[in-house]
């Protein structure tokens, strides 16, 4: 059983080492990428600025909730006036 525990310890050390190394490298790579994007002014290029294809998913500037709220408010408003 000692052998099993030993492989466990080894696996833990290698494992945590790898996880840390991988994510630390990802930090560096990500920071470099962000730096490059900002440096070369790509953050505001055509690609980044183009609006997403919103129509397809039925997202509207005024959500159904918003419309409902307005309609209900108007409804109430007009009823109160009509009395």
């Amino acid at each position: 059983m000692n052998g099993l525990l030993e492989s466990g310890i080894e696996l833990m050390m290698i494992g945590m080492g790898t996880v840390f190394a991988f994510l630390a490298l990802l930090v560096v790579v990500t920071q470099t990428m962000s730096w490059a994007v900002l440096k070369f002014g790509l953050a505001s290029n055509a690609l980044a600025l183009e609006p997403k294809e919103v129509g397809a998913a039925g997202q509207h500037a005024y959500s159904a909730d918003h419309v409902a709220a307005i309609a209900v408010a108007l409804d109430t408003h007009l009823r109160s006036k009509s009395q």
Binding site: M12, V19, V27, A43
Partner: protein, 377 residues
């Protein structure tokens, strides 16, 4: 009369074992927790009901050609369902907070210590003769500490399918218990002053950075750790569909209909592993106990890592956000926010905690890939 005999012999009362009866009660408790207490209901309702169906004597729903067994074979044995869920999670994830503060990736790394400590714990219990887990089983149990349902199911399906039911139950139960498990640990390891730390506001992240990040992550995986590629590949694919802006209809379907359908079948498939003979064992108790330890250690590691980072940096980090590194998205980040507000009612940590939170997903997928590679999944 012959037919009446057949009817009685075919009835549940005549065939039910005590184990099945117990499992039906356990399944009902899971459903109660899911419905009345809102414990991870998307999975615990489906797993719980699957457990009910699997323990109906004589119905054979979870064996042979029964529907739940077919679902298990098609979707879980192949790994397809957890991977599709991961794609959906990718399509739901916003890497913005992480990109605004990439250092928080290290918090997501630290919290994975829960995984490896638990692995060691499982092997320790075996060394002591209390349990009898081999290396693969110990690795699969450790992944509970990753606080990621689909990752845990994927790994268990590869390394220890016989423990899949218990591991999935433990993973989702503790994810649901995050608001109860984490706060005491967070308070214990931090001073009031630390909990009051206000963090610098996050910068806005450009669309291009969000598009490039999933590709960068995948390339890094490809070059360094290919065994994590299935999980992180599907995750990055979902995220790229979300961010690239030209396939919005695919991303929309991925994060709604597709993930919903697969969640239903994943839950039923996992439920098929709640059969009495395989679930009602001492191992299950061991797994539940180890899972709790895994969560606690992961939380503590994240918090302590944040404190260590504060020794080396000028822009201070509120150590509470380290607790979000276990993932359990977005519950853990909300817990961080809540504990933070107790210390300083003007300090909203939610967005700051989202960085380590999604970093925790990446971290446990990396750990999962490693485990599968090394223990030979």
């Amino acid at each position: 009369m012959d037919l009446l005999d057949q009817l009685w012999n075919g009835s549940g009362l005549a065939q039910m074992t005590f184990g099945q009866f117990a499992m039906i009660l356990i399944s009902l408790v899971l459903l109660y927790l899911a419905i009345a207490k809102k414990f991870e209901p998307l999975l615990l309702v489906t797993i719980g009901f699957g457990g009910l169906l699997s323990n109906i004597p004589g119905a054979e729903i979870a064996t042979g050609n029964g529907l739940l067994h077919l679902i298990y074979e098609v979707g879980i044995e192949t790994g397809a369902f957890p991977l599709i869920i991961f794609m959906g999670v990718g399509a739901l994830t916003d890497f913005g907070p992480l990109l605004a503060n990439p250092k928080t990736l290290l918090l997501g790394a630290a919290a994975q210590f829960g995984i490896f400590a638990t692995l060691l714990g499982a092997l320790g219990l075996s060394a002591l003769g209390i349990m009898d887990f081999d290396l693969k089983q110990a690795a699969a149990i450790g992944i509970i500490g990753g606080a990621d349902g689909p990752t845990a199911i994927f790994v268990a399906g590869k390394l220890a399918p016989e423990l899949l039911g218990a591991i999935a139950i433990a993973a989702y139960s503790y994810m649901a218990l995050v608001p109860i498990i984490q706060p005491p640990i967070m308070r214990l390891l931090t001073t009031e002053k630390e909990r009051r730390i206000v963090m610098v506001q996050l910068r806005e992240v450009s669309t291009l950075e969000k598009i490039v990040f999933p590709l960068l992550l995948l390339l890094l995986v490809a070059f360094l750790l290919p065994s994590a590629a299935p999980l992180l590949g599907m995750f990055c694919f979902g995220n790229l569909m979300r961010e690239c802006g030209v396939v919005e209809r695919l991303a929309e379907t991925t994060r709604t209909s597709l993930i919903n359908v697969v969640t239903i079948f994943l839950g039923l498939g996992v439920g098929s592993k709640l059969g009495a003979e395989s679930f009602l064992t001492a191992e299950t108790l061991g797994i539940l106990a180890l899972g709790m330890v895994a969560f606690s250690i992961g939380t503590a590691s994240g918090v302590l890592m944040a404190k260590v980072m504060n020794l080396f940096t000028t822009t201070p980090i509120n150590p509470l956000i380290g607790a979000a590194g276990v993932s359990a998205v977005p519950m853990a980040a909300r817990v961080v926010n809540k504990v933070g507000l107790e210390a300083n009612s003007q300090n909203f940590l939610l967005m700051h905690a989202m960085g380590p939170n999604v970093a925790g997903v990446i971290g446990s997928a990396v750990a999962a890939g490693l485990m599968i590679m090394i223990t030979g999944g």
